[in-house]
Structure formats: C-alpha cells, structure tokens
Amino acid sequence: MTTRVQLLVGTKKGAFILDSDQDRKDWSVKGPLCEGWPTHDLIVDPKSGTIYAATGNAWYGPAVWRSDDGGETWTHSSAGMTYGDDGPKITTVWSLATGLDGTVYAGVEEAGLFKSTDRGETWQHVEGLTNHPSRPTWGPGAGGLILHTIVPHPTDPNRMWVGISAVGVFETRDAGATWQARNVGIRGFNPEDPFPETGLCVHKFGLAAGEPETLYQRNHQGVYRSEDGSATWTEITEGLPTDFGFAMAAHPRDADTFWVIPLSVPEEGRFMPDAHAAVWRTDDRGKSWICSDTGLPKQDAYLSVLREAMARDTLDPVGVTFGTATGQLWHSSDGGDSWRMITDTLPEIWGVEAAVVEG
C-alpha cells in the first residue's frame, strides 16, 4: 500500500493534476485536462475516487466533467442543467460537492443549484433555492451572480449549506425543498441597514472538523465563526491585516484551526497586503491569528488568491496548498508553518483541491 497526494488544480485554461508521494516534495504535472476548458473547481468523491470538474466554456457553455480513472479519460455533460427556455442562461459551473448518498451537487452562474443522482450524466434543478423569497433581490458581485460554495452536512442528509455572491449563506433542512437565509451577524454594505438578511458577499465557508454545527466564513467584509449551525455569526477579523480576502481552508482534524489569505481591499488592488505574501492561521477559533510567511516572498509579491484556490490534505502533518491568479502553486507540508513553490508557470489558478490516494 502506497500513499500518494494529488492536487487538482482548476485554471482559466483547463484542469491540471499534480501528483506526489506522501513527502509532498516532488510533484509531477499532468494537463491541461478537460480539453482546456476553464475550470473553477474540482472534487474527488471520497467513496468512489471519481473526479468531477466544474467548467464553463465561452463557446460551448457549462459542463461537469467526470473521470473514473484518475484523470486519464473524461466524459462531460450538462443534460438538464437549465432554468428552462424562459429562464436565465447558465454560463458556467462554479462549484461541486458530493452528498452522503453520492448525489453530486453543482453550483452555477447565474446562481442556482443542480443535483445529479447518476454521477453527473443528468442534472435536476433544486428549485427550492431559486424559489426563496429573496431571489428577485439577488445581485452579482464582481465575479458574477454565482453559487460558489456547497457544504453538505456531514451526518444529516437533509441538511446542506450553500453560498452565493453577493447574496449570502442559505441552509436547507429538508433536502433542498425549502431554504433559509443564514446571515445574522454578517456586516452588509448599506450604512442604513448594516445587517441585512441577504445582499451579503460571502466568499467561502466550511465546517470545523468534527463539529457539525461550527462553521467558519471568509466574507468580503471580515471573517466569521458560527457555533450554532449558521443561525448566528460572530466576527473574528481582529488581528488580521485586512478584512478582505477570498480563500480559506479548515483543518481536517482540529476544529480550532483554519487558514485564510488576507488581501488588500478591492479599491487597493486585491493583492497580499504590502506585497508581502502570507497565510494567516488561527489555532483558537479566530480569537487570535498567526502570520505564516516562511518561504514566501516578503516583498514585491503582488499575489492574489481566488475563492476556490486553497485546500488542505488529510495527512499528518497536514499539507496546505494555495494557487495564485498569476499561476503559482505554493505548498506547505507542515501545516502551513513553511512554504515552497511547486510551480510558477500554470495558467491563472481558480481552484485547488487536495486528495490523498491509497493504492
């Protein structure tokens, strides 16, 4: 039995798979895959090992690609991925997740949720989300009106969270039939209505390890923690250099630990503050933050990291990887204490996923 680590990297010019042994020092690069289609997100179904890729092509539209052989061969489909002939057009698939029963979920632009019970061959619209009373008020962020985060509950098949920019977090507790906005405590943009129900720019969120009711959220305005299943959020930005950023990743075993990459605010360029590259980690649920920059460039680093482009593996010590919008892939095999660059020549990186493969 050998243990290998794969990094699945979505870029503007296709998907790439990087492969290494468990030392995570030397990496091979395979790609571009999926015929070079722009790829926002890749996932590995933990039960089957099947890889799915979320893509959208300027000419040929949205599709979810699937590989059952580790990325060697691929099929694709968007059958059923429509709001109907009178509805909004779907331009791209942004995000993917698998549920407890193997159902594949896809978040798309223009924002909505689809599901597939046949491994991506055909898709059905999860209409309950689109039917939320706030739908007529949904508006896009700079990246579009996108459903970019899908978080199935780890034990309850009826529960799931999704994140939509610039709308907010929604939760279902009845397998998608109805949804509730879950944004209490999140700062909004209107001084006259500082904490609205929706109109909030969630950038990414995830579950704390082993605590199904604890979530961490990276928002356009701040970082937040919820310990009541998203009913309320508490801001935990204090100690970070800015309140803006896109990417985050939660530790696979330690519920108190997660990583973020703060960026300068949009009006100041959306790159790492002072052009000093750093990943910030909390080990106490956001009460305090630790700057991790060993091995990263400390000057002239005008790097930006997008919302899907950070991931961690499940080894011990945990590996953490982030990709930049200028095609660099940085990796830490010691839990984020030190970093080194795997490659600086990929296309613009949009998404990173890490998978541990036994075989």
Partner: protein, 89 residues
C-alpha cells in the same frame, strides 16, 4: 441530406465524431437535433436556453448567417463555427 461541417474543438469533445457529416433536416434546429441522436450531448454544446444558438456559436447555411429556424435544403452546406468573439487571453 445536407452536408454539415463541425469545428475541431467541438468534435474533440466527442471522440470518434467526424467533422463532416451528412444529416437530414429541414431547419438548422432539425439538423442539430438529428446530430444529437448520434452524438448525445452535442446539442447542449451548441444551443442555449431560448432555445437559441449559443452566443459565440455561428452557423452558416450555404454561406449565409443562420439561426435555429433557418431552412436547410437537401443539398445545403452547413458550417458550424466558433466565433472569434469567444476568445480571451
């Protein structure tokens, strides 16, 4: 039957599909539906909600710009082309 020429980037998505095909159909829509019978999923790559041709897909029938409703004669030559407007760095 009409002679249909498909772009290389499209047939690459469906391994084994020929770029030149003889297809029966009275309209461009019919032609694409017929192609989809032998190449499942091909219509989704060319046709968006509406239904309309995707924004960056051009179809020409005997050299003239066409849409889904354009009539196709049994001797027509139909070219499907990715538009240059879809390009970006």
């Amino acid at each position: 039957m009409a002679t249909v020429m498909l772009p290389g980037s499209l047939v690459a998505l469906f391994p084994g599909t020929a770029r030149r095909q003889e297809v029966a159909g009275a309209t461009v829509d019919d032609i694409i539906v017929e192609l989809d019978r032998s190449v499942p999923g091909l219509r989704d790559r060319l046709v968006d909600a509406g239904p309309v041709l995707r924004r960056h897909i051009n179809v020409f029938v005997d050299g003239e710009p066409a849409d889904l409703a354009t009539e196709v004669s049994p001797t027509a030559r139909v070219h499907v082309l990715p538009a240059v407007s879809g390009g970006a760095p």
